[in-house]
């Protein structure tokens, strides 16, 4: 047992943190936020050149990483710097689906920074259930609707799940397709997200798709890709929570009221201590989710469900308490904390929320 970063990870963390510190500020963030698609291509290419996307994949897949620890390390830094860019959805989630389906040419493009992807899987009534697919495919012709598809507008091609056999909630019978952006019958209704980035409602009305991998066997690919995406989401949230906590700590020692720093008021000091305690819990939860990612599936999933549940609870505490202890300033669009708090809170709506993962955890630990 060993909690130290390897030399390689230490170097990656250092260089990534330095790069993000200098290249990302409120100006670049506002550019991303106000851009049409939510993607700033300069940052995307620079990060790809640094090897960030390559680190999402194993050597066999054409990358040079791909472990839970590699991915958690990178996403923690992205969250810490409050980067608004679709690395999680476009590169990791979609990329891992393609890598598992042996679409390695596309993965190579992705690693080079030359491909934007979007995974259109969730549906208006599926909530967080991965097995629920109502969209149909008959002879490669797709009909249905996909909900809150992150990065759809910016993507070069969509990955769409559709049912080729079985009932609506069967794990078997889910197939994956590439759908070209200019395909006839495809509608992308784009919107901005409250915590940054873009997503869309995607409607498929007799759209032609080309099969990815084996027909009817998409569920296992999706499950694994969502598992690593959940680890990444937890790590990213941990990074954002770290920044929120640091900003709050800094504010408490500088802000003066009643003639003294407000950090000296016990009502605030003790709550700050509780935040710091929960930060340690959150860090441990992420370490476990990342560290057990390569274990057997049950151990992996128990620790992912545990982490996402804990991050949901701890994240809410950090976001709400950070705003409350800052007071009015945290309510402004202009102040960094507001964006970070939104990001932390909205993370609970990705890949299953606090209650969803508690229920999944219970199913595995209380049979």
């Amino acid at each position: 047992m060993n909690f130290d970063l390897t030399d390689e990870h230490q170097m990656l963390q250092d260089s990534l943190r330095r790069f993000l510190k200098y290249s990302c500020n409120s100006k670049t963030r506002n550019e991303a936020l106000s851009s049409e698609t939510g993607v700033t291509s300069d940052l995307w290419h620079a990060m790809a050149e640094m090897g960030v996307i390559g680190a999402f994949f194993t050597e066999e897949q054409g990358g040079f990483g791909g472990t839970g620890a590699d991915i958690a390390l990178i996403f923690e830094e992205l969250g810490r710097a409050n980067i608004v860019s679709p690395f999680l959805d476009s590169a990791l989630l979609s990329g891992r689906v393609l890598a598992a389906a042996c679409e390695l040419d596309r993965v190579a493009d992705l690693i080079g920074g030359d491909l934007q992807l979007a995974l259109a899987h969730g549906e208006p009534t599926s909530r967080y259930d991965l097995n629920y697919v109502r969209t149909t495919s008959v002879n490669g012709i797709l009909n249905g609707r996909k909900a809150v598809v992150v990065n759809a507008l910016a993507s070069d091609v969509l990955i769409v799940s559709a049912r080729t056999s079985g009932e609506i909630s069967d794990e078997d019978g889910i197939s994956l397709y590439f759908v070209e952006k200019d395909a006839a019958g495809l509608t992308i209704q784009d919107y901005a997200l409250i915590a940054g980035g873009h997503a869309a409602e995607v409607t498929l009305d007799g759209v032609e798709g080309s099969l990815i991998g084996e027909e009817g066997k998409g569920f296992a690919l999706l499950k694994d890709a969502y598992a690593i995406a959940t680890v990444a989401q937890c790590a990213e949230t941990l990074g954002a929570m770290t920044t929120a906590t640091e900003l709050t700590q800094e504010y408490l020692v500088t802000r003066q009221q009643f003639g003294r720093p407000i950090a000296t008021f016990q009502a605030l000091a003790h709550r700050m201590s509780d935040m710091l305690i929960e930060m340690e819990q959150a860090r441990s939860a992420v370490i476990r989710a990342a560290g057990y990612f390569e274990s057997d599936e049950r151990t992996r999933d128990i620790n992912i469900h545990a982490a996402k549940n804990l991050m949901g609870r701890a994240g809410r505490l950090i976001a709400e308490e950070s705003i409350q202890m800052h007071g009015g300033i945290a309510m402004t669009q202009e102040y960094e904390l507001a964006h970070i708090a939104k990001r932390i809170t909205m993370a609970d709506h990705r890949f299953g929320d606090t209650d969803y993962h508690l229920e999944k955890f219970m199913a595995l630990t209380q049979p």
Partner: protein, 397 residues
Amino acid sequence: MDLNYSKDDLAFRDEVRAFLATKLTKELSEKVRLGGDLTKEDMEGWHAILNAQGWLAPNWPKEYGGSEWNAVQRHIFDDECASAHAPRVVPFGLSMLAPVLQKFGNQQQKDHWLPRILSGEDWWCQGYSEPGAGSDLASLKTKAVREGDHYVVNGQKTWTTFGQHANMIFCLVRTDSTVKQQAGISFLLIDMNTPGIEVRPIILLDGSAEVNEVWFTDVKVPVENLVGEENSGWTYAKYLLTHERTNIAGVGFSTAGLAAVKRIAKAEMSGGKSLIQNSLFAARVAQVEIDLMAMSTTNLRIVSQAAAGGAPGVEASMLKVKGTIIRQEINDLARRAVGPYALPFVSEAVEGSNEPLPDPHDAGPVAAQYFNNRKISIFGGSNEIQRGIIAKVKMGG
């Protein structure tokens, strides 16, 4: 980063398991599991067994007879002992006084007292708190006045755990009242059999008699029983309090407690199904299990940092707060799990009777344990004091 036990760790775990399987009697472990009152002989007997194995002092350096285990080994040992329902090692001599003596005691004191802690010749208790000095420990008033080659001690200590068993007490006493509170405190070792000492039990809300008041009236203490410098006792006291305390997070206790809750909830029926299938109860169990998993990793991270030379002060405070919250939540779940059978006052019910406990799940006095463990967020620096320490370290002031 690697979260798995190494081959050596696994071998060590097997060794601990084999030891517990052969040396821990069923009679003793059942007593611990059911929360029975351990006698002095029970505790001394277990100490002797651990000492014979060389495992009584995991945190002592080898030169003093400790086992000098690393963080992971200590974690494994605590975990296995708790799961096997081994008695808790009484910490006052072993993990509180001993580190102070090892760091600040003179050679004669080390040579004399340390072996006696291991052998069990001395049973130590702690003379810190006073009726007027709880969280504000530095305001303590028990006075020691130097007269020739003795100090004469007058005053009162309280909450003295196992004072009724102890033959020795380490005390914080005031040796100078003219200076700032913290600058006038000394650290004295006092023989409990000295004339002028009186021990009176305090019965706690669960009926247990583990803590005491200790009164000192003109008690003569030889000056060679002063540890370190006169009036520097506060430094040693702080060292003792913030010294890395193994198992401050109580991971092992919580793990064993949670297993018991699950066992009871599987057997207890509610609405035609087992209680663990009741989603409200099960969700509370799952949530605390998730918190415990994370804290167990936090504990390992912090303890391994400490072993590598990191400062464990503020992290120990964090572990104490979170660890006690988790343990108390588990006590609460256990109390709820047994339903109406939490109501009997078990120690009263079994007194003078050979009948089994009135409890179909063999759960022991869960309500009494719940009440007794309200203490864990109060003693050793209350959770509010710990939060104050964390804030002070992290934000100054």
